[in-house]
């Protein structure tokens, strides 16, 4: 097998939350609590989960964007370790890994023309020697993402949400990255436009061989775009497998509950669907669990789940659940 482009090992990100009272210790938010995965060149890893499961923090932690949070574990990008780097050292790795954000309104500078926005990363990393080469590359990128290069001198507000997301993708591609981290990149778009952007991302992968870490709460979108999918709950990956395998054959009780809660656009399917109902809500991430963090809501909880920490199994279909420990 090829060597992974990105290796994440036992990643932990803890935030200090504000004190809840005078003299009381500040609770620690365990946003990401021991996450490991590999991403291979030209492939897509999807990370799914509900709000607060740590998927976005994971995305940011990979690219050293978690600020003052306490971070632990190792991240290897294209063979070099990057998790311990300061901003200066990280800079030269940023050309290899870029990011596309959720909000196409907030992530483009409103005072720059889109031509300048797309050109800026090329300038930062001195990709091209002459202005003319840069301009030609901007034209090529705009055509690549389906924006007419005639509009190069327009400003972001003159574009719709879907077009802005295309501009954000062109900017990410400007330095020929090997990896793009997409954090809810299509979540703010209408269905018909969302499908356009998903198809664009998949075409680009096919033509350019770029790898994605695709973060989304939308199980259906991830199914379409990802080769491998990791399901996260309370800062951990509870199941990680080949996308088809995971959706056809979900093992972890949380994955099964999540899938059965997600409605399918098919009225007959929904009637026949066998619902695994989850009671309650995701608990606060400031508790340290002795056992499985999902045990309290798990419909199939075993007596020792609350005291024994499950480990992610080593098979191709990885599961972190005591129900499958022997399997």
């Amino acid at each position: 097998m090829t060597t992974p482009l990105l290796q994440v090992r036992d990643l932990r990100v803890h935030f200090n939350s504000p004190r809840r009272g005078f003299g009381k210790p500040a609770p620690v938010i365990r946003a990401v609590d021991g996450v490991s995965f590999d991403v291979y060149p030209g492939q897509t890893l999807g990370l799914v989960g509900e709000s607060g499961c740590g998927k976005s923090t994971t995305a940011r932690a990979i690219l050293n964007l978690t600020g003052n949070a306490h971070r632990d574990g190792q991240v290897y990008l294209d063979g070099s370790r990057i998790d311990h780097l300061k901003e200066g050292g990280m800079r030269w790795h940023r050309a290899k890994a870029q990011m596309v954000f959720q909000d196409p309104f907030a992530s483009l500078n409103p005072r720059m023309t889109i031509g300048k926005i797309i050109r800026e990363p090329m300038r930062n990393f001195n990709v091209y020697d002459s202005d003319e080469d840069e301009r030609l590359e901007v034209v090529r990128l705009m055509e690549l993402v389906g924006i007419n290069p005639r509009y190069m001198n327009r400003y972001p507000h003159e574009f719709s949400g879907g077009q802005r997301q295309r501009i954000g993708i062109a900017r990410a591609l400007a330095v020929n990255p090997k990896l793009i981290v997409c954090d809810e990149a299509v979540s703010a778009l209408d269905v018909s436009i969302q499908a356009q952007v998903i198809n664009l991302l998949m075409d680009l992968q096919q033509n350019l061989g770029v790898a994605y870490v695709f973060i989304s709460h939308d199980l259906a979108v991830v199914r379409h775009i990802a080769h491998y999918v990791g399901v996260m709950y309370l800062g951990r990956i509870v199941e990680l497998a080949d996308a088809d395998d995971l959706y056809r054959n979900p093992h972890h009780p949380y994955t099964r509950a999540l899938l059965s809660a997600a409605p399918v656009p098919d009225p007959e399917q929904n009637v026949s669907q066998n619902r695994v109902k989850l009671e309650g809500e995701v608990p606060s991430p400031d508790i340290e669990y002795a056992g499985c963090p999902f045990a309290e809501r798990c419909p199939e909880v075993l007596p020792h789940c609350k005291s024994t920490q499950p480990q992610l199994s080593a098979q191709a279909h990885q599961i972190s659940c005591l129900l499958y420990e022997d399997y």
Binding site: A195, H217, L219, R223, Y247, P267, N270, E281
Partner: protein, 319 residues
């Protein structure tokens, strides 16, 4: 319904007609700017005029014309006979009042309950919508509840007078899927208990398929298709509906490429002549460029209305 803006007149809702029957759930689907929310805000008399202006039309509830009501008459109906829940319960609830005060306010006003009766009623309601430790939580403020719990509080307020109609505007869009499933379940059971008719506004076709009896599809302020949920999903007749269904990703079937609808969402200030969907339609004909399509009704056993000039009985096979 028109809006007068600095850049011109926007016809946000254009000749939309539909009926709502007791106890049914009607879904209104469409993308941003299709007019689905404005339709319902207009029905509720909640559009500020100006900038809004109702140019024509009629909304009848139990033989009463709602569009000609004054504020005082409206207050007799809003919250009592017709109530509403919104997408964002944090902005819809008053952050300065406890949940109890917000619940009690409604029943004291509309049902003439005394403070103690209303309080008791409020605790009952919170229990009914599944809030644990209701007696204690009722004295909490909205920010002390999670998103899903706040939406339950909203539902409790909305059903407190057992309204005939509940308008739900994207009530689960901001929620996680497992919580969304809980809220949909709750709305169904409330409907069974009180026989409330629900208008469910959403852009999520999965939610439509799981909760609605009938569906109205809107595009650029117009109704483009209306039929039973099964019919809309099985035999869609408008090219936009077909496109919408084909572009929705499904987690239960993966590999094939999504069929996106080409082009950009419509600009309401600058709609093309003829059918608004014509720049994006793969079946566009000459007539579509000049003529606004009328509404065709197919009166089979199941009524099915659609606004497309092309006879697309064979559309499904074409695609």
């Amino acid at each position: 319904m028109e809006f007068h803006t600095d850049s011109g007149v926007v016809q946000a809702v254009n000749r939309v007609s539909f009926d709502l029957y007791p106890g049914e759930t009607l879904g209104i689907v469409g993308e941003s700017g299709s007019g689905k929310s404005v339709t319902n805000l207009t029905m509720m008399g909640l559009i500020a005029q100006p900038p809004g202006k109702v140019v024509g039309g009629s909304v009848k509830y139990a033989d009463r014309e709602l569009l000609s009501l004054n504020q005082k008459q409206w207050q007799q109906i809003r919250g009592k006979k017709i109530s509403m829940i919104f997408q964002d319960p944090m902005t819809a609830l008053n952050p300065f009042l406890t949940v109890e005060e917000q619940l009690v306010e409604v029943t004291m006003l509309h049902m003439g309950l005394s403070r103690t009766e209303a309080s008791k009623h409020a605790v009952e309601l919170l229990k009914k919508v599944g809030i644990p430790a209701a007696e204690k939580r009722i004295r909490d403020y909205p920010h002390q509840f999670s998103g899903g719990m706040r939406q339950r509080v909203m539902i409790a307020i909305a059903i407190s007078c057992q309204p005939d109609i509940l308008i739900a505007d994207e009530p689960t869009t901001a929620l996680d899927v497992t919580i969304q499933a809980q809220i949909l379940e709750l709305m169904k059971s409330m409907q069974e208990e009180f026989g409330t008719a629900i208008i469910f506004i959403t852009h999520d076709l999965g939610v439509v398929a799981s909760i609605c009896d009938r569906v109205m599809v809107m595009y650029a302020g117009r109704k483009v298709e209306l039929s039973t949920t099964i019919n809309i999903f099985r035999q869609p007749r408008h090219p936009y509906t077909v496109g919408l269904l084909n572009s929705a990703p499904r987690w239960d079937q993966g590999e094939e490429e999504l069929q996106a609808i080409d082009g950009q969402p419509p600009d309401l200030l600058d709609l093309p002549p003829g059918c608004s969907f014509n720049p994006r339609c793969q079946f566009v004909q000459d007539a579509c460029l000049n003529e606004t399509p009328p509404l065709f009704s197919l009166e089979n056993e199941i009524p099915h209305q659609h606004a497309c000039l092309r006879d697309i009985t064979t559309l499904k096979e074409d695609v």
